[in-house]
Symmetry: C2
Subunit: 459 residues, 2 copies
């Protein structure tokens, strides 16, 4: 089966593909908010109908949370399992959006046309690049070039509570020769990428309690312990002056880059100044002596994602608060063990507590880092196919984020995963005014058409 | 004019006095929250009406903020100026209140009856002890024993922005022979007190800003500066390991206790264990080597009254926030200069800022400490009158709180002030379930009746 007419069909059908994407985007499938449960269900049904219309044996699979969507379409060649998620982030603060987040519009920007709205980049626009590539293959050749399965989740933005049980219960059906995941980004606007390493994530909520009630800082100030001060001291102690994390044993299992990796990354010509400048920063804030790419791809972190205590409204209140809390997360790399780090962190905090203070901990997820082996020749085939589509050759890159599904494919189903996506750094995912470049959407579809072609070809 | 029938009238009228207090307490005069401006106005009007009903020439004086209430009632003898405030603290967290904070109720407790609600102790219940003493004098004798003025403020809990201009503009009207202030506490449940030293207060709100928007901690974590971490490090650095404050020049003007003062305080038999145990604490948290009474009466402090940054809702969000802020206050003693300390604090913070971070500062009040000279014989007269009313003799004590009005009476109007109040350590002022003991309310009224009697008597 030839590729060129498939690419031509994608080009010709682009306006209709955009209309289909808009229809999916109009469904406010916010998974974390129970008020939108019915919308999540509608999004799942929309996908089942669309997949059925192009010949997939598609079905909705209910879970204790939002439904999964599974589709299969037989074909010769390797069995490929594509994953995406149809749920989206909340949209607050709504007043920072220029338009209704669920009324997607095409806009002209300095960098070309974009489609603006919640879920355009994360992940409805991305998952539809693959669906549209399948549609074009089917339209042109009447069949798909490979044995393709699709797996769409509706809980990715709310901690995926149903994912692991579902994968275990349906392991045989979900196992393929290779997983394909479209939830990552380009290296830069002209350079596509296969993401081969993802950081893990460990979340902890820490609450320090002191006095049994809020006190008047005049009456007790000086004599009573202040939980905000205790919490601040703990947070301040989590990094040393060189930016290294001080939790005992934290760096166990953190590998150094090989010289080959370091050389490859240096060759990428990453624009660290531009990356930081995009958010009005200038100076890398991580460990001394590390490049920015190392800081975000190959080094672990400890961040405070939220802190709260005492009076935080307008004006001033001389309260000496009874408690203070922080949400703290660690991004993990290599073989770092999130469970050991959690225990070590908790021990460190408990050892720092002054008299009369207690610490309580609430866990929020623990996933190890994923590092793909690129020895499977499919990786190089996909990289070359991407290079054919985009202005510059594709790269194997890392990602600072955490996509637990990749680890689950490996751990539960024994599958490697290729993470190929077309998002851009300025897509504002999880933020107001999220967008997806039309160029990403268009070349994304063409990229998948090329990848299916090359992966299906007999060696 | 004789005292005893006045005391009898107070005893007889107690139920009606409680009803009047409840009526005032039901008005939610939260001064710091603009949503309650109308309620502050209503509370002022209520006081004008009540004072008028007992013969005061009372008026509401509008300011750029909440109104003042002024009342005068002629009489022979010394001119006494009584001060109290009708505004109250916010009530959040509302879910920690057992009842509506603005629906005051009488409750039985292990320590006797109390009236529960916001403002019962701070300061509506206290200011009404004086009003009711005047009412009883007027009822019994048809006139007051002295030339009495009343001065009620509605911005005490929100930094008193209108106070100094108002005092300066009305200096002649507000000047008397002695100021009386009822916004302090007993030494213990059986021992009344004249408070002769108050700490000053300096408030600063500090906001640290880094990236120009909230970031995804996967994409930027490790490379981008985190304002919560910066803020925590600044807060942690404000005290050394011995609990001393590290702001340069902070201890300039902090006097050591004289041996006589130290001996007097030791004789008070202060129950430090009980004071801390009341709020489930055991270990004094202030400077090493200082007694608890020193920590709260004669040593300065630095506290964090509130902190906020990033995601603080339920669950977890891997945001790397663009900013974080804290409300920080300093209690001052002796001759510490709040303006110099503010500048020094700001310089210290700015010197600690890492690259790409800015600090903005919002001032929230700056008042020096006050120390009264007890050489004026009115002090000893009042102490003896209090001793007649309560189970144990009255003491001259210090207070950890800040009542800037005392300093203003001295600086602007040249008046000494006697701080006499009937609050108790467990009144939970500024906290949920604030209360005032009925014994404090009742003996408070009788105490003022006695004090007016003794101060009016010709030497």
């Amino acid at each position: 089966m030839t590729l060129d007419p498939v690419l031509a069909q994608i080009d010709k059908d682009l306006p209709q593909a955009l209309e289909r994407l808009k229809a999916l985007l109009r469904i406010p499938s916010i998974s974390t908010d129970p008020a939108y449960a019915e919308d999540c269900s509608r999004a799942a049904n929309w996908l089942v109908d669309d997949l059925t219309s192009i010949g997939f044996d598609a079905s909705r699979r209910d879970t204790p949370g939002h439904p999964m969507v599974i589709g299969h379409a037989g074909g010769s060649g390797p069995h490929l399992m594509f994953y995406g998620h149809y749920d989206v982030q909340p949209v607050d603060p709504l007043d920072l959006w220029d338009n209704d987040p669920f009324d997607p519009q095409i806009e002209e920007t300095a960098k070309g046309q974009v489609i603006r709205g919640r879920g355009t980049s994360d992940d409805k626009g991305q998952l539809m690049t693959f669906v549209e590539a399948c549609r074009a293959w089917k339209t042109v050749h009447g069949t798909l070039p490979a044995n393709i399965s699709l797996f769409f989740e509706g809980e990715e933005e709310s901690g995926s509570p149903s994912l692991v049980p579902f994968m275990k219960d349906n392991a045989a059906e979900l196992t393929a020769d290779m997983a394909l995941i479209c939830d990552t980004g380009l290296f830069d606007d002209e350079t596509p990428a296969v993401t081969t390493r993802l950081r893990g994530l460990l979340g902890e909520e820490l609450t320090i309690e002191g006095p049994d009630k809020d006190l008047h800082s005049g009456m007790y100030g000086g004599a009573a312990i202040n939980p905000i001060r205790v919490l601040s001291r703990i947070i301040a102690s989590l990094h040393d002056d060189d930016g290294r994390i001080t939790v005992p044993g934290f760096y166990d299992g953190v590998p150094e880059l090989t010289n080959a990796q370091r050389a490859q990354w240096e060759n990428l010509g990453f624009d660290a100044k531009g990356f930081l400048g995009e958010v009005d920063l200038d100076t890398p804030a991580g460990e001394a002596g590390r490049s920015v790419l190392e800081m975000i791809w190959s080094r672990p972190t400890c961040e405070v994602n939220g802190i709260n205590g005492g009076y935080t409204g307008d004006g001033f209140k001389t309260v000496l608060p009874s408690k203070a809390s922080a949400k703290i997360s660690f991004r993990l790399v290599g073989d770092q063990d999130p469970h050991k780090i959690r225990e070590s962190f908790r021990s460190m905090v408990n050892a720092m507590l002054p008299p009369d203070c207690t610490a309580t901990f609430t866990p929020h997820g623990a996933s190890q880092a994923s590092t793909m082996s690129t020895e499977n020749p499919m990786f190089e085939k996909a990289r070359l196919a991407l290079s054919d589509e985009w202005p510059r050759p594709a790269a194997f890159i890392g990602s600072g984020g955490s996509i637990p599904i990749a680890g689950h494919f490996k751990d539960i189903l024994g599958m490697d995963a290729m993470l190929i996506g077309f998002g851009r750094d300025d897509d504002a995912i999880h933020s107001p005014n999220e967008k997806y470049a039309l160029d990403s959407f268009h070349r994304g579809m063409r990229s998948w058409a090329r990848i299916l072609h090359t992966l299906a070809a007999h060696d």
